[in-house]
Amino acid sequence: MKKPIVEIKNLNKSIKGKHIIKDLNLSFYPGQITGFIGPNGAGKTTTIRMMTGLMYPTSGEIIIDGHSMKNHFEDAIRHVGVIVENPEMYKYMSGYKNLQHFARMHEGVTKERIDEIVRQVGLENRIHEKVKTYSLGMRQRLGLAQALLHNPKFLILDEPTNGLDPAGIREFRFYLRKIAEEQDISIIISSHMLGEIEQIVDRIAIIQNGELIDIRELHQETISQYYIEVAQTDELQAIIGERPVKPYEKGFIIDIEKPEVPALLRALHEENVDVFSIHPVQQRLEDQFIEMTGGGAIDAIH
């Protein structure tokens, strides 16, 4: 395992006597995209605000690239790129002037780098127009540009796909994957839109009531369930035998390992069973999430 770029140690935060974050421990590694999910009010945004220096922890510490946020803020935040909720830019200035403004706050961001990032996010045609004329999608792209301007090692995205159209989301996802792999950037994405997140992230960290309740690597999970739809259900039952099976919509869901699938299909063929459809069932992140946080309570916990 690589050395973590960010370490959160025993993080606690109380606001007005309410204990909002409880002993949070979490590390982030280069090249890895982590989804940070939890019901509303679980403490996602509070944690992110502490990682970006907008809020101060009551106790515990955050170490970024070996520097403590508390004691060496400027060194710690130097390699962090941030989009907190909507990227609020200065609407009365052009996109380019916004980028110049933020570039002046970092060391060594050249004019060439600004032009390069503008090209990468595809804003070169509109960059000299005022931000107030931009669509939400363009603002998101400008937000991404300002977050990546200084080549950060750690990228924090809070609800990044708000307001993007499906094509935009797909492009965004592709782009994040690319920079994570090519530039070895560690990315954390907080979101409640689980459907979008599960296709980008390598692992998820689930937070509920200020506590980390689960971290898991998504790609470790092998698919062991298949959905099958056939004309002759009785024959199917006979062939499957003892395997656990449950009816689902017009067909069945069978617990079966991938290497066994061809044998099953051959057997069905030999018995003249007509197969309409067979495909792997991926238990969706959303289902897992609801399972873990106690069923359907996405918005109910405050």
């Binding site: 606001i15 605000r49 970006t52 220096g53 907008l54 809020m55 101060y56 803020f73 400027e74 060194d75 935040i77 130097r78 962090v80 941030v82 907190v84 909720e85 909507n86 990227p87 609020e88 830019m89 200065y90 609407k91 009365y92 200035m93 002037k97 403004h101 933020f102 002046r104 706050m105 970092h106 060391e107 300002q146």
Partner: protein, 312 residues
């Protein structure tokens, strides 16, 4: 420096700064043009001598009037001395507008409006970042919070200095175009002899004595803007205190604590020819009070901003 440049660019990318500056320019031009339009021109030395002579004759007849009490006579005699000086030195009558009196007026106007504009900008320069949410883009940079705050404060002062400078230069240009070198002069009698005040000194005095209250009002507004996060409230309170300070003082001057308030210690009351509102104030005491308040305002602002959690 780069952060001040950022603030300066943002300031001038918004309409407010332009509107305030243009407003001041229009006011200076307007006042100058109206005065010039309605005055009877006294362009030749003869005109000026006749005007002064007419006033002199008037005072002469008063002095010769046996019904005038003795204490008033000394005042008239001084006026006569001054008028004789005016005639001898080809000066305008005291009631007329000349280059120097217009300059004085324009400077006063620029200082008063500049002070007001600084209050407005000081209140909004930080709170606006909060209300638009841009503060989180600003504070997640490798720049300590106090540096960002300081760059904003410095920008407010540069803006104020710039606006006042523009007002003063415009006044000087207009004054020269309208009145050329015609001067009224500010005359005083010292030991029975007429002394003409050096105008450059008097302009400098006006500026120097005005600066402390401008700085204090700006710091107060900046502090309120940072604490409340609302420019309206900060501007309201700071302007109220700036404009009503004399009225408030009138009511509380009799209490001992009044002299420890910053607005009771406006340094302008120690300008030559003015008397302090609260009698036992001295220039030294007032300077110390002003400095103490300035430090308090700055420390409160910076501590509060450094410690606060940003939830915008």
């Amino acid at each position: 420096m780069r952060y001040i440049k950022n603030e300066w660019i943002k300031l001038w990318s918004q309409k407010t700064a332009w509107m305030l500056t243009i407003f001041l320019c229009l006011l200076v031009v307007g006042v100058g043009a109206v005065t010039k339009y309605y005055e009877k021109p006294l362009t030749t030395p003869e005109d000026r001598r006749n005007a002064n002579q007419a006033e002199l004759d008037n005072y002469q007849s008063l002095v010769n009037d046996p019904a005038i009490p003795e204490e008033e006579l000394s005042f008239y005699r001084e006026e006569i001395l001054k008028l004789e000086y005016r005639i001898a030195n080809d000066l305008l009558p005291a009631s007329e507008m000349g280059f120097d009196t217009f300059m004085d007026m324009g400077l006063q106007m620029s200082l008063a409006l500049g002070a007001m504009f600084m209050i407005v900008i000081a209140a909004s320069i930080l709170s606006k970042e909060f209300s638009t949410g841009t503060i989180k883009m600003l504070l997640t940079r490798p720049v300590a919070r106090w540096k960002i705050l300081l760059s904003k404060l410095v920008t407010v002062f540069i803006f104020g200095g710039f606006v006042i400078f523009i007002g003063a230069v415009l006044t000087a240009i207009l004054g020269f175009l309208f009145w050329g070198s015609d001067t009224v002069g500010s005359l005083t009698i010292v030991n029975g002899a007429v002394v003409q005040e050096n105008m450059t000194d008097s302009y400098m005095n006006l500026i120097l004595y005005s600066i402390p209250s401008i700085i204090l009002n700006t710091l107060l507004s900046f502090m309120l803007g940072a604490i409340f996060g609302s420019s309206t409230l900060a501007v309201g309170i700071a302007l109220l205190i700036a404009f009503l300070s004399n009225t408030i003082l009138y009511f509380i001057a009799k209490y001992e604590f009044a002299k420890y308030l910053w607005f009771a210690n406006d340094i302008r009351q120690f300008m030559p020819g003015s008397t302090p509102v609260i009698e036992d104030l001295t220039l030294g005491f007032s300077m110390i009070v002003c400095i103490v308040y300035a430090i308090v305002f700055v420390v409160v602002t910076f501590l509060h901003f450094q410690k606060r959690d940003v939830t915008a």
